[in-house]
Symmetry: C2
Subunit: 197 residues, 2 copies
DNA sequence: CTCCTATCTTGTCAGTGTCAGGATAGGGTG
DNA sequence: CACCCTATCCTGACACTGACAAGATAGGAG
């Protein structure tokens, strides 16, 4: 009884929404230390919970990263859709998607790496597979609206991904010196090079 | 004396060329388990040496990966040059470089990831910085031979890198079904889209 | 032959992921 | 209301990891 009241005064035994809290903590840890130094215990500590608490919600560390990757793919698609909202016509929409692709890579580089360059997430897990598939399906739809085929899909995807991945890795020194408007204009022209028609 | 002879019968105390042996062992470990599960002790075990032996040659784990990345960049440049050897003209040479870019990513995906998508290597270290710079300088030279400028450099680099990174991550299902000749022809056309002129 | 330095080993420490077993909360059943 | 049942969370333990300190060994310089 006494222990009960002392606990209630400080912190409840049951978190309430630990799963979501762990996901946000994991993303923060990922952004701070990178995927390669990712620590499950640090995530638990950041969420204010014991080191074994995540196991019940995600199984193991890869399970957490798999769930985070699935959520990341949704936000990745959201970043593209956000840019497309202010686009007129199929051609402009495809370009906007490419800009959204880059937006995501720049604003959340480690999440971008988790999604595209990590072996940790399990892509056989339905939640992640479907999230990734939805993003790809959207890309396909964009090209089909332009009357393009498989080679055009690959062209747009590779160009957008190449720019995004190099930018996420800070390999494009030439771009940090440019203003937002300049950068957008350069990327726009690059994407227009590879679009069909 | 007795211990001495027993040692010589099995394994010498001094390795002879441990530094090189550790680099090859590290690359093998990297290919087997990926960067994110890379273990310095496993590398030492594979090289048949104690777990603290690498420290003397590379300082810490990141030091080993930095040295490996520098060597990787040289082989990366070598892969491009190998393709360019059988090319006629500046235009064909730029396309060949892109094919070599992909060759490297497909034959050594984890080394490719170490070079372009990892935080572990220290790019301030001269050996690595210069190796990476040499590869970039070669790319610049290829475009300048074509009379292109900075946007054209970015265009070729982003397209080649996008294809290579997606392929290294096994994201291009459409390409595994194709023959080598088909794949080369598709990539060639993609690269020609972004070259100037 | 002696010493000196580079090289490699052994031993130890804190930190990590995962598993087993125990504690707690809250809801459903009698 | 009393009971228990399940999901949730914690504590403790184990093997593994990277890093450091101190000792052992080899081979060359003097």
């Amino acid at each position: 009884m006494l222990r009960y009241h002392r606990r209630m005064a400080t912190k409840p035994y049951h978190h309430g929404d630990l799963r979501a809290a762990l996901l946000t903590a994991a993303e923060a840890e990922l952004a701070d230390h990178g995927i390669e130094s990712f620590s499950l215990r640090q995530v638990a500590k950041r969420a204010g919970v014991s080191h074994a608490a995540p196991a019940h919600h995600f199984g193991d560390a890869n399970g957490l990263l798999t769930a985070l990757a699935a959520e990341g793919f949704q936000r990745f698609l959201g970043a593209m859709l956000a840019r497309e909202a202010s686009a007129a016509g199929a051609r402009d929409r495809a370009v906007a998607a490419g800009l959204g692709y880059l937006d995501f890579a720049l604003s959340r580089p480690t999440l971008f790496r988790l999604i595209f360059s990590s072996r940790k997430p399990d892509f056989n897990k339905p939640a992640l597979f479907e999230a990734g598939d939805a993003a790809y399906a959207h890309l396909v739809a964009l090209i089909e609206d332009l009357g393009g085929g498989p080679p055009d899909i690959l062209a747009l995807w590779a160009m957008a991904h190449g720019i995004a991945d190099l930018a996420a890795g800070q390999r494009l020194r030439m771009m940090v010196d440019m203003s937002d408007a300049e950068r957008i204009e350069v990327i726009r022209r690059l994407l227009l090079r590879v679009l069909p028609g």
